[in-house]
Symmetry: C2
Subunit: 470 residues, 2 copies
């Protein structure tokens, strides 16, 4: 493999590292300006997040919990942490659900019969049950919302309900648009089943109009019949909608064969840079190692995982070992269960009071713009000061918001959380689809993201005073 | 062609347009917050910059001045302006240089002889002369700078000089990195010729390590022999450098056959939204229509041209006709002469005092972050206020800086200039190369850019008071 841009300056980096190896005690954030600059330059010029992502995505492109790919990814992560030079590298057990999509997802227009190109491109949603072995055939009704479904409840009985509300195209923040539409995917099947429907189809959660369907997880409400559900591509959704709008009853044939297996043992992968002065005080940085079984999970969340690893490697490379411990965690099972995030919190319950901060990158491997955080008050003020040091790199946002799904459970223990905030323009073009590949990732962007994460972590981990909880 | 995301809300847009058609007189920037929001939402949800770019890049992917492609692009732009509904659509004559690259650019390792894969991927630089018909063969010396060349002047005589200083990989702003390296391309041949060299090769101006060479313009110093020059891909540059470093003399065979023809007539393409109250006061918005003869010129500068057109279309679509005239200009010959920018200034000399503002987009079709501007003092303060309205869309930068090459000549007349500032992470991966294609452009990003430009232009063009010159 080509070495990415070493530009023959390894010697210069080493010299820098030696200079930086002994850092004086420091009480205020501004004193870290030079370190932050050094970290960012090292990241963008000689960072290895992208190189690592190429390795992960070729080693284990499909990493859904319980799969052989997920197991390969766990071993890859363990070895990678050792290679980076992390300490206390270990697997922490996680029991994960094991769902497989099967080999068929067919949505075909049965009536009007004889259409040219009668198949509507589709993909089974994660956790969905199968259709009957030879499929089901039923008339379809289209709705834009659960409210519309409630109003037209009588019509839905015995039918396939098609949820076709697009992500709001006017939202410049595509995560907000996703939030406004994804309920159709996660709850649509049970809402349709309550009205007597035999299946549910949804418009893919996507910002593109193309023929690539997007999967993602769904769950069934307790006490409601489990009906099969799949996503249509946005182009197929428009086509189906046009047919329905034409006024002739449309019947679809729907067949898919996903399988639920027994739960499986898996693991979070953990390694550390042990702090010099307060080793028992912990900052977590991570992403999730599992991913969907389409594309390569390059953005979701290969990038985030590799950025978290790289943030740690950059600090080791530069000799910037902080006062507190930085713990890198590659979480398992974010996509369809969050078992890893829950297990981490349970297994480290005794340590939770010593968890100073947790940072996750799980919003795509695009150009970083800063962070979102749950911190308020004094802690937020310190984070704002650190963010200022990242402004020259245009990574200086520190917005109120969430951390990330995997670290989310720790919020119950009062742990301050943050999430990397990359630009969101392109993320939902590729999210959970065959399009989520390395070809859509830029090396400078993921390496800069790793640098921004390393800088934020380093300053918090090295300040004389611990980041205050409220 | 697929219609991009109309989402069936044309009717809603029309209703909005009717509401907005009569705008009251307004003295302060804050009064425009709602208009700006409307423009941005319309742009990102229903903008046509990307659709237009697809059209341009398929109609005329190669648009170098004097070529058939450039002529096709001129006619395309004229028709597109008419279709958009611009007034006073016309061609303004520009005499352009006419250089063609020919069909051969071969750089082969002649000694050490018999290497497997002895060809070094290369591309002729714009404006270069040809080698002798059957090529030239000479030993090569590598230098990192003109200073090094001066020190080693005696060694260069009769040789090929290879300028191999990379764009600074530590620069997060890749334009700064480009600025620090591009002198090798633009002046390297003449500097080498002064030392008696027979040819000059340069490392491609690129942020990627790959085998795609990047072209771009060069010029010959007066009174210095004109020697042929080409760019090697960054991978080929590393390879050549390794060979030279090994200490055995390296001889290269270099052959290329570009041709200079007589100058040709061409045109800037111009259209207007005539202002309601001060029609004689003019804001220019543009990009350059010409592009290199490789790739599709999608980012450079198809995107900028299409964004400028779209900025105007958005205002017409929304019924936002401002007090002053907005003049859209598709400039010709930015890449190898700037004849269009110069001609525009000359032909409109009498109008220059009435030119309030000029805005160019020529930094790539990536995610917009705001603008750079030459404005100072009171004018800058007003622009800062407008930029604040763009912050919710994360387009709120208003930095001191340049406008753009095509509008640059107007600065001599005191015209205030601005340039769109997109994120620069990916631009020099593709710039001036076969990689500058539609596949690297995102529809939401160019449409948002058009929206940000439309918003900035509209407020300046509609304020009661003219933007003050110093």
């Amino acid at each position: 493999m080509i070495q990415f841009a070493p530009w023959k300056s390894a010697a210069a980096a080493l010299a820098l590292a030696c200079l930086a190896a002994v850092s004086p005690p420091r009480g205020d954030v501004a004193a870290y300006a030079e370190d932050v600059d050094t970290i960012l330059r090292e990241a963008v010029a000689r960072g290895r997040a992208y190189e690592r992502l190429v390795d992960l995505c070729t080693t284990a492109p499909h990493r859904l919990s319980g799969s052989a790919g997920a197991a390969a990814a766990v071993e890859w992560a363990r070895q990678e942490m050792i290679d980076i030079g992390l300490e206390n590298v270990r697997l922490e057990p996680v029991t994960v659900p094991h769902w497989e999509r099967g080999d068929v997802c067919l949505v075909r227009v049965a009536e009007p019969a004889g259409l040219v190109g009668d198949e509507l491109t589709s993909i089974t949603l994660g956790s969905s049950v199968a259709t009957p072995e030879f499929g089901l055939t039923a008339e379809v009704i289209e709705v834009q919302s659960f409210e519309e479904l409630a109003e037209r409840r009588a019509e839905a009985d015995g039918k396939i309900v098609f949820f076709n509300r697009p992500m709001d195209p006017e939202s410049i923040n595509t995560f907000a648009a996703y939030g406004g539409a994804v309920g159709q995917r996660s709850r649509g099947a049970s809402e349709a089943a309550k009205a007597g429907a035999v299946a549910a189809l949804i418009r893919s959660m996507s910002t593109r109009l193309d023929d690539v369907p997007h999967t993602g997880n769904m769950s069934y409400a307790v006490g409601v019949p489990k009906i099969p559900t799949a996503a249509l591509s946005t182009v197929a959704s428009e086509r189906l909608s046009d047919m329905i709008e034409a006024g002739v009853p449309v019947k679809l044939h729907f067949r898919q064969n996903p399988v639920w297996h027994a739960d499986k043992p898996s693991a979070n992968v953990v390694g550390e840079i042990v702090g010099t002065t307060f080793p028992e005080e912990i900052l977590v940085v991570g992403g999730h190692l599992d991913g969907w079984d389409v594309g390569q999970g390059a953005h979701d969340d290969g990038a985030g995982t590799c950025e978290a690893f790289e943030a740690a490697r950059l600090l080791l490379q530069l000799g910037l070992r902080p006062k507190r411990t930085i713990r890198v965690v590659a979480f398992m099972n974010e996509e369809n269960g969050l078992a890893g995030g829950r297990a981490y919190r349970e297994q480290h319950a005794a340590e939770m009071p010593n968890h100073v901060f947790a940072l996750e990158s799980d919003s795509g491997g695009f150009r970083p713009r800063g962070f979102t955080t749950t911190a308020k008050g004094d802690a937020k003020a310190i984070l704002d000061e650190i963010a200022k040091l990242l402004e020259p790199a245009d990574c200086g946002l520190m917005l109120d918001g969430r951390g990330g799904a995997d670290i989310g459970p720790m919020q119950l223990d009062g742990v301050l959380l943050a999430g990397l905030r990359p630009d969101s323009s392109r993320y939902f073009d590729v999210h959970h689809s065959e399009s989520d590949t390395l070809a859509t990732v830029n090396d400078r962007e993921v390496n800069l993201a790793a640098g921004a994460m390393a800088a934020l972590l380093y300053v918090i981990a090295d300040l004389d005073e611990r980041l205050p909880r409220r």
